[in-house]
């Protein structure tokens, strides 16, 4: 009864915010409503007896990833999408049709598959974290390690990607760096590099680059 209520509320919330994510022209709003979606999904996770996943969802997604998004949005000063030329109507139409088709197919499958399927009542053992941990570090240990490796690689890749191209000749590197520092955009990128790639040395120009970002904002 209460559970159904909670489900309905947060499902509606998730859907609404998801729509906002997709439809809103201002990336900031999209991002924020994505946060709402994530949190309501986390609540649904709790309903489904996965509090740990829910916590992680909030912790990682809303706490870190989306913050990163916001950061980049501000960094690149991604304004509203200019309404401008209405090209790609075919694309839009095809996308909607395809999504609709997808919905129909999947929906039918689900309905005929689990139309009246009742879930077994939650048992303590299923919810308990130790069991989860046991499986995570038992059967899936290798996967776990691999994911760790993946993250490391990702960090390195991000550093390389977003780092400002190093001056060719180290000898006059200083001078070149200064020259680049004058240009606002590279400054912005440098900040981005600093944070996106979590690289300390990128940070020290935040103060210096106030002008550019402010002007952009």
């Amino acid at each position: 009864m209460i559970e159904t209520l909670i489900f309905l509320i947060f499902a509606a919330l998730a859907l609404a915010s998801a729509l906002v994510v997709v439809l809103h022209r201002n990336p900031i709003y999209s991002t924020m409503s994505l946060v709402v979606t994530l949190i309501s999904l986390a609540v649904l996770f709790v309903l489904l007896g996965a509090p740990f996943i829910a916590a992680l969802q909030v912790l990682i997604y809303t706490g870190a990833i989306v913050v990163l998004f916001l950061f980049v949005v501000m960094l690149l000063n991604v304004g509203r999408e200019e309404i401008g030329e209405q090209r790609g109507l075919v694309q839009k139409g095809a996308a909607v049709v395809g999504a609709a088709a997808f919905l129909v197919i999947v929906g039918l499958t689900y309905l005929e598959g689990y139309g009246g399927a009742e879930m077994a009542p939650l048992d303590e053992e299923f919810v308990s974290l130790p069991g989860l941990a046991a499986e995570l570090f038992g059967r899936y240990l290798l996967t776990f390690e691999l994911v760790g490796l993946l993250l490391l690689v990702a960090v390195i890749a991000a550093t390389v990607l977003a780092a400002r191209p190093r001056p060719a000749v180290p000898a006059e590197g200083g001078a070149l760096a200064e020259a680049a520092a004058v240009e606002p955009a590279t400054e912005a990128d440098e900040r981005g590099a600093g944070v996106v790639t979590e690289r300390p040395d990128g940070e020290d120009r935040l103060v210096a680059s106030g002008g550019s970002a402010g002007g952009a904002g």
Binding site: I28, V35, P51, A55, G63, E198, L206, V207, G214, G217
Partner: protein, 356 residues
Amino acid sequence: MLFELGATAAKLGIFLVILLGLFAPVMVWVERRGSALIQDRPGPNRLGPLGILQPAADALKFFFKEDVTPALADRPLYLAAPVLGVLPALTTFVFIPFGPTVEIDGRAVPLVVSDASAGVLLFLAIASLGVYSLILAGYASNNKYSLLGGLRASAQLISYELAMMLAVVAVLIPVGSFRLTEVVAYQQELWTPAGMWNAVPQVVGFFIFMVAAFAETNRLPFDLPEAESELVAGFHTEYSAMRFAAFFMSEYIAMTTLSALAATLFLGGWSLFGLPEWAAAALAGLVGPYWLWMGLLGLFVLFFKVALFMALFVWVRWTFPRFRYDQLMRLGWKVLLPLALANVIGVAAATLAGWL
């Protein structure tokens, strides 16, 4: 059913009252008197004895000040930001236990609002939402200083969250659970019969946690997001009146909750070597039910410890100079993080060895 709801509501009420009605205002006063003390000046001493009424006056002032919204601000976000700051800070308190599980006419009632199995995680998760208030405030104000403040805040908070969480993990390893109640229970049996505080074996983690806590609450020496000498007032440059107050409050409440967490993780939370239980039993012998005494004493002990931390916050704020931004990042990434990792490994090893 109703009983549980009632109990939960009651516990929630207690916290709201204490936090909003007691700590935030008192902290304002403490802050100002403390700063005065440290800087060897009287501080606010007119209103009431020792200017104890000063916070009320401040609150009044905030209420009646004009609430300005910049013309080019992103209005909805601008209005939402302060609220987003207060909410998580308030919410997190539901995971802090202030007493053991007691019997109220036959029903077992844990003296904690929510004893979720993933308590600590949820605490940190919700706490991590606080950053949005800063970012959005910085962005919505449409002001270069605010924006920079927001950016700095996001970077800083993300960076120090890692170190903080690792410190927490180190604490949780020997406990073997995410429930804060179990953390307290663990400390009650650690080593001595009367128990021992985690702060002793986990001194490194304790240190890391405290430093990170300073950064997470944007307090000096890590108040880069609002460094007045660089960014006017950082992310809340444009705010005024009650919204400004809301930022203030959220900062103090965040301090309080983090202090409570620190107390629970490292200083045994509500427990004090069995004294509260003993005293509660004794008092219950005289008058009133045991659970009431227990709750009160637990709250008292907990908030005593919290108060200690608050004092530390104040003391540090008015003692240390502000870091430079690169220094901040370097400290976070090149000192605290590796240290925390090493700490985790060490603690894990010690746990395997059976010392913890």
